[in-house]
Symmetry: D2
Subunit: 249 residues, 4 copies
Amino acid sequence: MITKEDLLGSKPLIIAGPCAVESREGILAIARSLKELGANALRTQLWKPRSEPGSFQGVGEAGLEWLLEVKAETGLPIATEVVAESQIEILKGVADILWVGARNMQNFELLKVLGKDDRPVILKRGFIATLGEWMSAAKYIGKERVIMCERGIRSGSDAMRFTLDLNAALVMRHDYKMPVIVDPSHTAGRRDMVPHLALAAIAAGLDGIVVEVHNEPEKALTDAKQQIDLVQFQELMEKVRRASTLFFS
Amino acid sequence: MITKEDLLGSKPLIIAGPCAVESREGILAIARSLKELGANALRTQLWKPRSEPGSFQGVGEAGLEWLLEVKAETGLPIATEVVAESQIEILKGVADILWVGARNMQNFELLKVLGKDDRPVILKRGFIATLGEWMSAAKYIGKERVIMCERGIRSGSDAMRFTLDLNAALVMRHDYKMPVIVDPSHTAGRRDMVPHLALAAIAAGLDGIVVEVHNEPEKALTDAKQQIDLVQFQELMEKVRRASTLFFS
Amino acid sequence: MITKEDLLGSKPLIIAGPCAVESREGILAIARSLKELGANALRTQLWKPRSEPGSFQGVGEAGLEWLLEVKAETGLPIATEVVAESQIEILKGVADILWVGARNMQNFELLKVLGKDDRPVILKRGFIATLGEWMSAAKYIGKERVIMCERGIRSGSDAMRFTLDLNAALVMRHDYKMPVIVDPSHTAGRRDMVPHLALAAIAAGLDGIVVEVHNEPEKALTDAKQQIDLVQFQELMEKVRRASTLFFS
Amino acid sequence: MITKEDLLGSKPLIIAGPCAVESREGILAIARSLKELGANALRTQLWKPRSEPGSFQGVGEAGLEWLLEVKAETGLPIATEVVAESQIEILKGVADILWVGARNMQNFELLKVLGKDDRPVILKRGFIATLGEWMSAAKYIGKERVIMCERGIRSGSDAMRFTLDLNAALVMRHDYKMPVIVDPSHTAGRRDMVPHLALAAIAAGLDGIVVEVHNEPEKALTDAKQQIDLVQFQELMEKVRRASTLFFS
């Protein structure tokens, strides 16, 4: 079993993978490449909580077997989102790291059930949560098992889908003493900007990134515009290593 | 059984009551007064989803009996929040109207279960949800049973706890064709401003308000600063009636 | 000479008129109608400070004579924007009320020169100014001559062009003890919503409105989508009178 | 005479200096150190446009001689803010680079006069300006002479004084093809976070930073909490050089 401390032993922590599991072959191919390129964990989703009912909702439980294969072959810990209490149990033995999405940051019922689990939990910040609200949500789970994740706020700025709030990530890390990683993919909503934001986060001294990577992004069933491909990921990894020496040394 | 149409037959719809059920005597006293003063439904909470674990979390199921008494005596329909799927079942026969709080607006698992119920649902807007996200959430429940509720957004303004977004409420009503009520209590966070915001909502032509009223606000266990007392509510009702003739006629 | 106290003697204060002076005949025709319908002052602009260089920039000094005719014939005080120090002098004897636009709320050089004038000044709030910044700007001019104007903030909400911040307007009025009027036209950006927001402001107990009215809005050279016509203004005035009795009595 | 191209020849461009000129000895001492540590230009202010009338308003014209001495001795180009048209003329021969503060981004009268000058202009983004508004303001000056500066937006986030909007800075650079530097000092409002944000900007591939540095920050007459000292600046410069190789190579 992997712990929060194990994960934070990687400086910086790089969690990468496709938005959603789409097929056995797809997830295996991506995971092999990511392992080789130095990712510390694989991120992906079996269930997709979509704003719009009717959109692709993920492969669901069918993907559990595939993820076990991925783990067996690559040794990569698996991080995946839970949106319902029942999934926590279903994912036992499969997911090593659970994450709570921005939309569920204050779904206290879900947080309380996560509080009884023993896996590390990545807690994404709500669309415009205060630092106090974010920290309170972490306490519902148990802060010693939580890694915070800044994924962009909704502000009056019209630049990209969301506004990356590095200021909040830094205050959470320095004043609240919590580890913080950044999700550059969802804040950007466009592939070409993901490496820029990822490197900003690392150079600012944050603990890592969680980034969407797909072997064929333009064919992805979800988030097609924001997933980077494996070549971009490789270049990003090389730069991340150099940027990480600025504060971690 | 009360329907959404029944509720909207009141022009405007006035839902009033204490933040939380605190005691049998308290809730009965308040309900009697509100009925007499012309409220159309009683709002209150058995479970309080608090940002901070450790705060007063509500009387829970103990209050079910008291609410049945309130209904039997006053005939007021009861509106209460659900934060967990199990509560939907527990509240059968007790709550006539269910509501989803801002923190759960995109808790899709909860919304889907509500979609199988047949009671009217008040759907509060998330802290900075777009109109599209808000409407999508309504569709998860089934829009024909939903009444939307604007309760203030978190913006860069430093005036009160939240910023009442009448513009969004109006667009939801006129462009999306959904009924919209306003919660002046949570946006204000201070008692003296509640009537001002409530009247603004009615004069703007929205469908109603949901307002926190307590017989002894300063002794309330929660939201003590923003609940108005019965005298203030009486004055408000008199003004609401006059304001409502501006658009409803 | 009209004073701030004279203006606030009208409860509520209604300042109405076309976005910009376009022709002698046009401004005379509109002013006559507005006078008849009960407006307390005429608002319009000779110079249009446009975000984009190259757009219609107003008739400029050519309009001074026309405004003198309007005053002589209707007796309406004239309110107009100043964007440059030199305009303050040029407008002596023509404009009775000066206003500072949102973009210049913290143009302290302009505010200081206005501080040496003796006419009432309407100070529009910056796009996301704090209450403290807004009040400080008023002090640069001299707060005893200033009427504050809330015109919408830029927030993360996607409903209309701006988000009307009634909460800020109310706090400015009740805690800072300043008179506050609301500009429903610029916050809405769409004609059909102007009366809704105007009535909300009056019903909330604010001191008045400044609203764009044109005799042929669809032919207006600027702000064509948000100016209401004279029929809409007449209906609005009738409702405003009723709404104003809610708090002013 | 230094040109915009000269300035951007430094990759990245580092403009550093005290918030305000406080004394001849002070500004000379700081400038000597900054030159030695590798700054490309000196930033400072003779006039301080303060939100609150009555605060320290700068040494004004008395500082012109001192700045000439600084230039003669160190060879550093001088960047300073203009808040009034008259200052543009007064600063001829003294200031090599002019800048427009956030509060004046849409003071079009000032921008138009700057359009007749030939020095490079740094244009700070307004508190919540859209990209289009920011770009339009640059066109008023003449975009070929403008360097854009992101200094933080006012959002609903409660982390620091402002929220650094790297997303907007990146879109301005990549889609609008304008050079963009970042001001980490005003967005942070606290000294310890300035290097983190500065490195984020450089690692993101932006063109440089403008940072407040004082030899005795705690004794500074303005912005005492956010100015870094010379030791911190030296460390920052060393890291900036390493970070700048990530994109500039």
